[in-house]
């Protein structure tokens, strides 16, 4: 019996040794790469924001000044998100919000929306989606410029009943064969604008998540 016990103990120790070596290698790599990864993730996020909000418009550290936003039903978010607030000389110029269109053809469509202080949309981008490749994926900027239909629109420009695709009697173009996808995006963007117009002052009074400004 004891010879088996001894053998098992030896095997357990070998496995533990491999686990220990593996874990330490991972720990070392993680430490060595952490700063670089954080920097490149910030760069990627800034690049995405720069697509919908020209960096010349603001002068604050938009990532550091982001505020935690609890889940908001109007934005379609079920989990806390970040609200990126752009300031120029300490005055609010725009806000970038994360929102989700829950009723895409294949589930949720995650959006990033930049709204200027006057309520005008500076830009919208689709961050992730599962729409049909080659059919509904034209909402992606890599596939087509469709998503730019929102640039410069606002609640003043189109009344609420015109925030629909043209097929439904609204103002927004769509491509034949895939109407559900743009319908979901238009609806979500409209809801974000409505929510923003009621809450924009509150947004700028929230505390930032980064170092105190």
């Amino acid at each position: 019996m004891s010879i088996y016990t001894r053998h098992s103990t030896k095997l357990a120790m070998v496995l533990a040794a491999f686990a220990l070596v593996g874990t330490s290698m991972l720990a070392v790599t993680f430490e060595a790469t952490r700063d670089n990864i954080a920097a490149s993730e910030k760069k990627a996020k800034l690049a995405l924001i720069a697509q919908i909000l020209p960096p010349a418009l603001y002068d604050n550290d938009i990532i550091r000044d982001a505020a935690d936003l609890p889940a908001v039903p109007e934005l379609g978010t079920a989990e806390p998100t970040l609200a990126y607030r752009a300031l120029k000389d300490g005055k609010p110029v725009a806000v970038v919000l994360e929102a989700i269109a829950p009723d895409g053809y294949a589930g949720k469509i995650k959006l990033l929306i930049a709204i200027k202080s006057n309520g005008e949309i500076s830009g919208v981008r689709v961050v992730t989606h599962k729409e049909t490749p080659g059919l509904g994926d034209y909402i992606e900027i890599a596939k087509s410029n469709w998503i730019k239909v929102f640039d410069g629109t606002s609640l003043e420009k189109y009344p609420s009943n015109e925030w629909k695709v043209k097929k439904d009697g609204g103002q927004f173009d769509y491509m034949t064969g895939a109407t559900i996808t743009p319908r979901a995006v238009v609806k979500a963007v409209h809801k974000v604008l409505v929510w923003y117009s009621a809450n924009h002052e509150k947004l700028f009074s929230l505390a930032g998540t980064g170092a105190t400004t």
Binding site: L11, F18, G22, L26, T29, T33, N36, I37
Partner: protein, 229 residues
């Protein structure tokens, strides 16, 4: 391991035991990612890297690994390696990570890596093991490129779409429009297209092999056909 065997390793990896169309291992990432040439080759390159290094490390450590616990140790080694490659790529070669990054975690679930560790690296020296991992990965890359090409031409009428994500916006002009004014054939892009395409590739390879053996040994042709089936 004699020198002559390298030829066999290469032949096995690229054709005879091709991971994608003969061994039929690692089908999950293969079917999911082969929607275009660029995606397929992207996953292929990431797999080549991981397989060469995982085979090398398993071979290096093989004398310390007791038989009874070899599988958990291989999985540990592969998982650590893939995570290290993932983190390092993200930190030091960000442009490459943006292209290949989504494929790297897929490789952990690719049983080719574990399969070659068990079948080859655990019994052979370091360098041949690395060559074996490299070649099996390259064989998979070839399958992915061909399958991706088939699905892309049929589904979208183009070749190399998405190459601009790898080489910058100027590479957009490299995209070849094979069929102009094409409205797309959705089946080829969706998962069933992957299965049908893979089936055609397997049939094509069997046909080539049979034709070859029929030419070399006409008398044994029927026997080879039975074996291949």
């Amino acid at each position: 391991m004699s020198e002559a065997n390298y030829r066999e390793i290469i032949w096995n990896g690229l054709w005879k035991n091709n991971a994608g169309i003969v061994a039929l291992l690692g089908l999950c990432p293969l079917l999911a990612v082969s929607t275009s040439v660029v995606n397929g080759v992207g996953l292929g390159i990431a797999t080549v890297l991981v397989m060469a290094f995982s085979n090398g490390i398993v071979s290096l450590a093989r004398s310390w690994i007791p038989r009874e616990i070899r599988i958990p140790v291989y999985i540990l080694i592969i998982a650590v390696l893939v995570t290290i490659i993932d983190l390092s790529m993200n930190a030091f070669v960000q442009p490459l990570y943006l292209v290949l990054g989504i494929f790297v975690p897929l490789i952990v679930v690719n049983c080719n890596v574990l399969g070659r560790a068990e079948a080859f690296a655990s019994k052979n020296a370091v360098f041949p093991s690395m060559v074996d991992g490299f070649m099996v990965g390259l064989g998979l890359t070839l399958t992915l490129a061909v399958l991706g090409g088939m699905r892309e031409i049929l589904g979208k009428g183009t070749l190399l779409s998405g190459i601009d994500l790898a080489f910058g916006a100027s590479a957009k002009s490299w995209i070849i429009t094979v069929i102009p004014d094409y409205h797309g054939f959705l089946l080829a892009i969706l998962p069933p297209g992957a299965f049908i395409g893979l089936g055609l590739l397997i049939a094509g390879k069997n046909w080539l092999d049979q034709r070859k053996s029929a030419r070399v040994e006409p008398a044994q042709a029927s026997q080879a056909a039975t074996a291949a089936a």
